[in-house]
């Protein structure tokens, strides 16, 4: 069980658990994270991050990849992605 106060270890492999999935829905105007009896709108950046949470990439690799494709400072990406993923994990929408 992960402690919500700690940072995500770089070797963690974030993935969506069964019962949580990211879909694109025209009628609802964009990306949506479907979860048990809940629905969350995801903006384009959040969707790009969540799409990579398949259990294949480690958290460290995921941050590297995003830093590269967005040509942004790694520390900034690390902080932003860490906050998003920690928030999802606390809501039981992500496994680490």
């Amino acid at each position: 069980m992960s402690d919500s106060s700690t940072a995500i270890p770089s070797e963690a492999r974030p993935r969506l658990p069964r019962g949580v999935r990211l879909v694109h829905n025209e009628a609802q105007g964009g990306w949506i994270l479907l979860a048990p009896e809940r629905v969350f709108k995801a903006d384009a950046i959040a969707a790009e991050i969540i799409k990579r949470c398949t259990g294949e990439l480690t958290f460290g690799e995921l941050v590297d990849e995003l830093a590269k494709s967005y040509a942004a400072p790694r520390e900034k990406i690390l902080a932003d992605v860490g906050t998003l993923l920690r928030g999802l994990a606390d809501k039981r929408l992500l496994e680490l």
Binding site: R18, G19, Q28, L34, P36, E37
Partner: protein, 355 residues
Amino acid sequence: MLHKPLGLLAELTHRCPLGCPYCSNPLALDAGKGELDTATWLRVFREAAELGILQVHLSGGEPGARRDLVEITAGAHAVGLYTNLITSAVGITDKTLTALAEAGLDHVQISIQDSDPASADHIAGYEGAFVRKGALAAEVVRHKLPLTVNAVVHRANIDRIDGMVDLALALGATRIEIAHVQYYGWALKNRAALMPSRDQVEQAASAVADLRSRHQGRIVIDAVVPDYYARYPKPCLGGWARRSLNVTPAGKVLPCHAAESITGLEFWNVRERSLAEIWANSPAFNAFRGTRWMREPCVTCPRRELDFGGCRCQAFALTGDASATDPVCHLAPDHAKVAQLAAMRTDAAYVYRHM
């Protein structure tokens, strides 16, 4: 602007083996022989997906009473809907659950009546229900399906919220709903026997806050407030006919599952019209959509688009006027009535609901 609905509550049947005194289904239930057939449900799901609906909640009664539940679930999954089974666990065999998991079921919600087994079976009016729920929960977890526990709380079990959260954790749930009884349908018959005291409600609220911080990251605790003791009313499902709709076993389309309790509304039926036409034009849907139907104090209230005047069904049940401000609101002219009703508490035996 007309919003797109997000969720569809599919009440597959009113049949149910349990006799819960807080059942919020209407007093007059739809008979089994008048239920929509499989093909009609599958058409409704197709139309729902086309309308932008994302999630379907397969509910009842006990959905396990439908022999075509697996087919219905597969049909909803096939059109891309997120499928949620809302069950008492009594009537869903392990074999059915396996078939449902293979058919694409996304999530299971199991109701519990209490953390104390004897009390739980007493409240459900069904010997052995508690044990069956535990067994099905284990199967859900074995299939790696996410599990929500729904705990309806009232004066008989409200002091054991921590026990119910512990039970949910032990069952492997990742989410629990602490749902205070809402007084609609059959529950109105048992209001005095179910009503907690204000002290109990306040202790329950602090227990929930404490449990949330203790279990953060382990289990999500969602709580539905007991609105007889609230200051502001609950928003009616995020606004009447704004985010979700409900199809009854006989095919009537309602803005919420208690809406038939309001007399004089005209509901349309999926047997005669498409879901899109009903969503846009049903007289019942347009009756309280938005804010135009409001009077004072709602119409000038800064919260009018937050709580939408509260619950229309409750306004009708307590005042006889569905356009009135929900009396739960401290600004409502009839607010004093709510305190009087909450004070009418008794230890009398439940009036069970058995079909």
